[in-house]
Amino acid sequence: MADKSAIGRTGEPFTMPIEWGKVREFARAIKDPNPAYFDPELARREYGGVPIPVTFLMTSAFWQDERSMPAVQFDLGRVLHGEQEFELLKPIYVGDVLTGVTRVADVYEKPGGRGGVMTFTVLETRYTNGKGEQVAVARSVILETGQTVNSA
């Protein structure tokens, strides 16, 4: 069921240090051998620091906890990650310490297959750096289906 009252619900700020080891590990995991992630000297010369892969902010999973995630009720047997978006507003480098705030940006319903209703929840996380500049916005769309995921 779409819980519209969740819209605007906001978690506590969380801290996310950007670490080189994690950036390397993530780059390997997405099969990206770009030396910018592996050679700090080259990265400094060419980019002003070791940059992060476009989808690296997914690793906020390691820094979020139940206080920083706004409370939303999901039936775990029926949820799917439907969409993901990143707006990258300013460069983010290894050594930066980001602050993220996650809120429920939207909740809406759409007709699903077989007469069911699908509920969409948009979770938005805004990141600022140590200078207080907004550097990125991440949006996840979580789908809740009318039936269990494997029969969908």
Partner: protein, 140 residues
């Protein structure tokens, strides 16, 4: 490597060079789980997926989206992507071959820089769309 695309040299309709990743495997999914912190068991726990009626584990959507993001940064350059959006359509299974590609759909100036906008897609060996994407990137 740090060569940036030039506004005047990029044309609407231009294709982003394809990136093919052969034979994605359970090891890839496990590696992505550990790297990303996505520990949903659907992607590495065979006992769990069988219990819920799915034949094998399958890739995290964001694993495949990661391959697609590399295809984009190989083309547009690191630090140039301003927006990256993906939607997950078909599951990616162990043994699949994934081809990532894209196309420029618009060229314009905004916020004091040249920008390109385009579509991205990751398909499997049967041509089925696994991830559909869109992006905005800066050009010089």
């Amino acid at each position: 490597m740090a060569q940036k695309l030039k506004f005047d040299h990029v044309a609407v309709g231009e294709q982003i060079p394809a990136l093919t990743v052969d034979n994605v495997s359970r090891i890839d999914f496990v590696r992505y789980a550990g790297a990303s912190g996505d520990f949903v068991p659907l992607h590495y726990d065979q006992t769990f997926v069988e219990a819920v009626g799915i034949p094998t584990v399958f890739a995290q959507g964001m694993f495949t989206a990661g391959l697609l993001s590399r295809c984009l940064t190989d083309y547009a350059g690191i630090g140039q992507v301003r927006r990256f959006k993906v939607r997950f359509t078909t599951r990616v299974w162990p043994g699949d071959t994934i081809t990532c590609k894209g196309k420029i759909t618009r060229k314009y100036r905004e916020d004091g820089e040249g920008r390109i906008e385009g579509d991205l897609e990751a398909t499997n060996q049967k041509g089925e769309l696994a991830v559909k994407g869109a992006f905005v990137a800066a050009v010089e």
